[in-house]
Point group: C2
Chain length 192, copies 2
C-alpha cells in the first residue's frame, strides 16, 4: 500500500447474513474482524480517502444474501455514508458485473486495501483479480474472517486453517498481507 | 461437467520452468500430475473436443517463465498440436489479457475442465474467474499440483496442505472437484 496515492478501501460483503454462522459452516475465526473494519473505515473517512462498499446480492431466492432477505443489509458497523459508492455484485469477484475497475481508474487509484467477508471466497477472489488487473493490493489479515469448510472428499478444515492458507496463497503473489494496526499507522503517518 | 456439451480442456502453464522445484518452494505434491494431464489430453483428442493451452509468459526477465528462458517452453507431455489454440498470459488468470472468454463463447462452450500448474495460483485464479464468468467449471484434483509455501508470518505450509485447502475453497462455490479417472469415464461414456 502506498498511502501517498490515496489507496481505496474495498469493504467486501459486510452483511447481516453472515451473522448466521451455522449456515456458512460454523466456527468463524477472527471474531473481532468487524471492530477492525470499523477502525479502518474511520481512518479512511478521517483522511477523506476513497471507500467502496461492495454488497453481495445473491441471485438465489433462498440465499440469506438475496435482496429479499434482511441478511442482505449491511451490518451497522459497515453502513455506507450517502456519498460513498456502493457496488452490488452477484458473484464472488467485485470486479465482475460491476464497474469497480472503471471507477478506480477514473479516480487514478492504483492501490487498494481489501477487508470483509469471507477470506477464502469473495475477499480472495477480489484480491486475485485486483492484482491481476494491475492494482497494488493489500489484504488486512485481522479485518477478514471465514468459517469451517467441508471439502469435496468430506474432509473438514477449520476456519483458522482455511483463513491462514488462503492468506498464504495471496502473499507474495497477489497481495501484501498486513494487519489493521500497521495499515492505520501507515495511513496516519502520511500528511493529508 | 456436462460431456454432451463438449467441455473444453484448459491446460494451464504445464511448462518446463516448474521442473525446478526448489525455485517454487520445493516438495511438490502429486508427482504423477503430468501423467494424468497426458491421459486427459489424449481423451480430449480422441473425442475431438476443444483443448486450450495456456502459457505463462512472465514480464520479469529473471523469471524462468520469461520467454527468453527455456523454462517458458511447454513440457513435452503438454505440447500443443498445430491446430490447438495457445493463449499467452502474463498474470495468473487465463481470462485476463487474453481472449479466452471470447473464444469459449464463440464456440458455445459452457463447460470447462481445468488442469495444470499450480493449484493455488494460476489454476485456482482461472477456476474462480471461469465460474464467476458463468462457465460450468471442473478442476481435476490429481492433474494439478503445487509446492510448499512460506506465508506472510513465516509459517510454512506443505504442498499437500496448500493443495487440499485450495481445492476445498473451490469446492461447492466455484468448481466441481473430480479426479482424472472419473472425468475420463464421464467423457468416454458419452457417444461422439
Amino acid at each position: 500500500m502506498n498511502p501517498s496515492q490515496q489507496p481505496a478501501l474495498l469493504v467486501i460483503d459486510v452483511q447481516k447474513a453472515f451473522d448466521n454462522e451455522a449456515y456458512w459452516g460454523g466456527n468463524r475465526n477472527n471474531p473481532h474482524a468487524e471492530e477492525s473494519i470499523a477502525q479502518l473505515i474511520a481512518a479512511w473517512r478521517a483522511k477523506e480517502y476513497p471507500i467502496f462498499h461492495v454488497q453481495h446480492c445473491s441471485v438465489h431466492p433462498t440465499s440469506p444474501l438475496h435482496s429479499s432477505h434482511e441478511g442482505n443489509a449491511f451490518k451497522p458497523v459497515a453502513t455506507p455514508l450517502p456519498h460513498e459508492p456502493v457496488l452490488q455484485k452477484s458473484v464472488n469477484s467485485a470486479f465482475i458485473g460491476t464497474n469497480l475497475q472503471q471507477q478506480l481508474e477514473a479516480k487514478d487509484i492504483s492501490s487498494v486495501v481489501i477487508v470483509g467477508l469471507i477470506t477464502n471466497h469473495c475477499v480472495s477472489t477480489t484480491a486475485r483479480m485486483s492484482a491481476n488487473l494491475g492494482f497494488q493490493t493489500t489484504v488486512v489479515s485481522d479485518a477478514t474472517a471465514t468459517f469451517d469448510r467441508v471439502s469435496y472428499d468430506g474432509r473438514r478444515f477449520s476456519a483458522e486453517e482455511i483463513h491462514e492458507v488462503s492468506l498464504a496463497n495471496l502473499h507474495d503473489e497477489f497481495a501484501t498481507i498486513a494487519n489493521t494496526a500497521s495499515v492505520i499507522a501507515l495511513l496516519e503517518g502520511q500528511g493529508k
